[in-house]
Symmetry: C2
Subunit: 226 residues, 2 copies
DNA sequence: GTCTATACATAGATAGAC
DNA sequence: GTCTATCTATGTATAGAC
């Protein structure tokens, strides 16, 4: 699988995401026409992610968001009841998509070596396709309210668990070495995150997403393969 | 070298750091008595790092900082001329210390394998000894003004260059495999950063700093050693 | 040198016209 | 549904007393 193939397989339509957000947040969204909601949620989220790729969510004012999204400050509050709720909304949805796509891809194989490759590639490709979204989810997690922070941590650990399980499977089948599984999963995750946390660096150096994915697989297999 | 030995060798005294900051910022610091400055800079920086381990620098108000440091809002402005300047001051000093200690340690050996081990251990141990400081430097870099952001990026690339040079040395001496040097250095750096970005995770799992350093060395050598 | 009091700007959020 | 106008809170930064 290459990045281009991945993009064709995994349809992440903005309309669909927006629809899911509407389902989850019926209470806070005051606008009744669903089409309007879908359309404007896309504009709001796109604007937020764009602004927050340059400055922090805290530093983004409602007036900034108004200017970038094309909706007035007053209108924005028809789609969320506080700025913090907007943060929670985007983060929750981001985690949901990431987890769903990843799990969907991994179940496609039962061979541990293949599963590990798929998991690494899917994660990197997904974080490339939704770079701003991933960056935002990571970097703004600390500004979430306490209980939402807990959910973010759980989600992080769940993703790691996915790798832990794959590696354990490989050790049982004697295709992987008996390494410290938790640490191997941790460093794989660190490498995956580097792709979207330091995208500026890899772009400047003309490292393609396929190059990077192949390299991370190479590293993982250097540690694990017998 | 273990973490405890490292701490004995590398003296990172708060007074010394504070003194260097004074040298660099004579213009902004209005208080004349040097002892006072040293003492209060320590209190201000400790307070800032403590608060910012829980919330962002933007979210920290001068009133917060006043309460935590024990100085009034007015007094704080005798030590910096704006909140942004305080951010720059801490970040600049943090990068300076990190770079100095790392370079000092690495020159102790001329053997590439040994150099790589020293570099990895020094970085992880240093980031452990100054965990809040490293976390702050990483996470708040994006809130720096444009020109200071450039310096932060340069510093990041310089640290990576140190690893690149070591690896290239090893390849020349035919003790390391002829891998993609830039990518190897990148992922080593990603692993190093994970230690202080996810310190909560490693603490919960009772992974000691020595365990982690040894594991990162193990990974690096799995990729590189012939 | 440090405090209290306060000026001034900007933020989030709401009300009511359209 | 969206706008403009505005309320209120909070933040940074300063002035002047001690």
């Amino acid at each position: 699988m290459t990045y281009n193939e991945f993009k064709k397989i995994v349809k992440i339509s903005k309309e669909e995401i927006s629809g899911q957000i509407l389902e989850r947040n019926r209470d806070s969204i005051k606008v009744k026409k669903e089409e309007k909601v879908i359309e404007n949620l896309i504009r709001i989220i796109d604007a937020t992610l764009k602004i927050c790729s340059k400055k922090s969510f805290q530093a983004m004012s409602i007036r900034d968001l108004s200017a970038e999204s094309g909706l007035s400050g007053g209108a924005l509050y028809s789609y969320f009841s506080s700025k913090e709720e907007l943060l929670v909304l985007i983060q929750t949805q981001g985690r949901e998509i990431a987890n769903r796509v990843l799990v969907d891809q991994v179940v496609k194989s039962s061979d541990p070596v293949e599963k590990l490759r798929i998991a690494i590639k899917s994660h990197i490709y997904l974080s490339e396709a939704m770079r701003n979204w991933f960056y935002f989810t990571y970097i703004e997690a600390r500004n979430l309210p306490k209980n939402e922070q807990k959910l973010a941590i759980e989600s992080e650990l769940q993703t790691e668990k996915l790798f832990i399980d794959i590696i354990n499977g490989g050790i049982e089948e004697k295709v992987f070495r008996d390494e410290n599984v938790v640490l191997v999963a941790s460093v794989i995750k660190a490498m995956l995150q580097d792709w979207y946390l330091k995208s500026w660096k890899y772009r400047n150096r003309k490292v393609s997403v396929d190059d990077y994915a192949d390299f991370v697989i190479h590293v993982a297999e250097s540690i694990l393969l017998i």
